[in-house]
Symmetry: C2
């Protein structure tokens, strides 16, 4: 029995235990500010595996002052970052395995068919907020490590497992890990890619645009200026900007993606009274950033677009719309497609699935941007689960994919870090 | 000294008392649900004048089931309607003098230069929420009645003074008075017309339009349907509908008004998260109704417009925007310009001001719609104060106009009701 066969067999034999671990993690709902109980499950697991643990509360000066820091959270205490290292024997390449423990809010519970934190299993799927994004992927990582440890396989390079907070809100957890010194020769982030390899990731950042009007009674609305009408001019301009920006994208990885770097208008609020002319409209959204683009230059492009919108209208000329950059901010990722880590992951995928993996660019930002741009660590995003299920009601993950991903990642670990025969 | 000269003199001599009455009324802020203390001031005044008082809580079955009833208020108890009648000697025409006691909320107090309920006087202006809309007008009515009573002038026809609640929210107070039997040969409503005569009034009604989308992650926004984008299609159609409807208005009374019957989009809310595609957008607004138009036919026109908007877009075709008619609803008013009440008021105006009054159509609905359409009572809206000040911060009224209006209304009362020599 070769090492691959042993891993396959071990994963089959431990399917129930692995499933139970994922169930536990989902049941410990870890919405922002409440990550500690899910982290406790991770810590217990890592302790049992004999890994060297580093548990710390993020939020020190160095982090908050870093230009890539992005968070509106005031207090990180009680909800630590966890890093657990499997020390190699030396002479191999190191590998970061990064998963985030925070999940987005469940939304309206009535929209769910069952309790959003049930961890209910049906037809080979495990349901619950965070199952796909991304506790399923984290369990793939832990299973891959456990298989290697339990099978007595000795890796040369270090494997650095990370369970971080704050990915959904801008990546402060991974940034804190990078600043604490955790960088490596490569990293895998098992976000739900539907088992595709994503060497490039779309970055993104949130914007808020304030458009002014002048209030009046609705019956004499011509005495005022309707902020909603003016906001429509701005939003039409943003739609044009999105078209322009996407026409420039020529990377074949994006050839199948309708809008590689969308500008999403996610929110608008204006007005307080049906029969008054509203004097302010606030638009919030998310601007996609191309893998090879600087965040600053994307910012400038949107700000320039607002200036042009202002020039097209006499009122806006005197009352130009204002942009703020707030909240979420994810650096893009940009790894060459023939990077050795891509080769290793592709070969491992083929060994398990009997076919070549699909390679695409991710339509969303991940902590990969921070790991690669700030931590100089080459990153591939690859994991179980489908994007569409993430953030949605009745979020679920296919358990088969969790175990397939574990198998592929275990093979990749051996290949990347090297084995002491 | 003829009757006019006596009235003029009486008003001059009682300027301080009249001003103090208005100040008291403004100081008793009477926002919806808190009308009782301002009504108490009115009741005390009417009692001293020896008027026959009818004080009652509205909200009985007959009112609530009436097709013109429009209110989302559940409880009217403790905040009565007040009607005070000055009985005539007989043989004359009756006259309703109608003022509403409710005022709109003051908004953000910080935007006011002084306490919004101060009743502060400066440069001949009295400041405060409700000063113009329409406690100033109500004081004109009370002063006109008091002058006539105190000067011993005996009117033939009845004068029915009304201080009603709920005008700002759809006219349930005046409707209740009509249903209680208070109709007359004519009515004056001293809303702030800037001393112009308004024989016609724009009606209006509130609408709420719900536009559906489909949620998705902002990074793959093409997997969803943005409710804000679809709402923009609807709002553009509403703008076109407004143009069409106003092109049809040929009444010369509207010749100086840029948009005789506006469709005001007063409010939009959509989305909860910048990086999600919003799945619902809710638009609220106010539709102006022409003096000679049926409310129902205006409703149908907007609903038809939504159907056309739906036809222009594949998504909307399957997910048509829905309209609701909620909240405020004011019937239009439509009196012929050569109605005897117009003549009487014009002549009284000329006797006081030495020039012809301006005659226009009001850009907003008043309780005149209910009085004329439900109560069959011919209505002219005429009063002190400027529309622009109503509902705005630092609302104020010119005290001179309050007394001028009182003088004009007193003359009109004598002319309309007739005098027993």
């Amino acid at each position: 029995m070769n090492a691959h066969a042993k891993i396959k067999y071990w994963l089959e034999e431990n399917r129930q235990r692995g499933t139970r671990l994922l169930q536990q993690l989902v049941q410990e709902g870890s919405i922002r500010g409440n990550e500690s109980s899910a982290q406790a499950v991770i810590i217990e697991k890592c302790r049992k595996l004999g890994l060297s643990l580093d548990i710390w509360e993020i939020g020190k000066d160095q982090l908050i002052k870093h230009p890539a820091f992005c968070s509106d959270r005031k207090d990180f205490s009680g909800n630590p970052n966890v890093v657990a290292t499997l020390k190699g024997t030396g002479g191999g390449k190191s590998l970061i395995l990064n998963g985030h423990i925070d999940v987005v809010p469940e939304g309206d519970r009535n929209d769910w068919d069952h309790d959003p934190f049930s961890g209910r299993i049906e037809d080979g799927k495990l349901f619950g907020r965070g199952s796909t994004d991304m506790k399923g992927g984290t369990v793939s990582l832990l299973l891959a490590m456990e298989a290697i440890i339990m099978l007595g396989i000795k890796l040369k390079g270090d494997v650095i497992f990370q369970s971080v907070i704050e990915e959904e809100s801008g990546g402060a957890g991974t940034l804190a890990a990078v600043l604490r010194g955790y960088t490596a020769d490569g990293a895998i982030i098992p976000e739900p890619t539907n088992m595709k390899l994503f060497p490039k990731q779309q970055g993104s950042m949130w914007f808020r645009i304030t458009v002014k009007g002048r209030s009046a009674h609705g019956g004499t609305r011509y005495e005022g200026v309707n902020a909603i009408e003016k906001a429509m001019i701005v939003m039409t301009k943003l739609q044009e900007l999105e078209k322009l920006r996407n026409l420039r994208i020529e990377d074949p990885l994006y050839s199948k993606i309708p809008i590689p770097i969308p500008i999403n208008i996610g929110k608008i609020n204006s007005g307080e009274w049906p029969s008054s002319v509203p004097d302010i409209a606030v638009i919030e959204g998310r601007m996609g950033v191309a893998p090879d683009e600087e965040m600053k230059s994307a910012e400038k492009e949107l700000e320039q677009c607002l200036k042009e919108a202002a020039q097209s209208d006499n009122w806006l000329k005197k009352n130009p719309p204002q942009a703020e950059w707030f909240g979420g901010r994810w650096l893009p990722g940009d790894l060459e497609q023939d990077h050795p880590l891509m080769t290793v992951l592709s070969e491992s995928f083929e060994a398990v699935k009997g076919k070549q993996p699909a390679v695409e660019a991710s339509p969303w930002g991940t902590d990969g941007g921070i790991l690669s741009k700030v931590g100089n660590t080459p990153v591939v995003v690859f994991g179980p689960g489908v994007t569409e299920a993430a953030h949605d009601v009745n979020e679920y993950i296919s358990l088969q994919e969790v175990f397939d991903a574990a198998e592929i990642i275990a093979l990749a670990m051996m290949e990347w870090c090297g084995i002491n025969q």
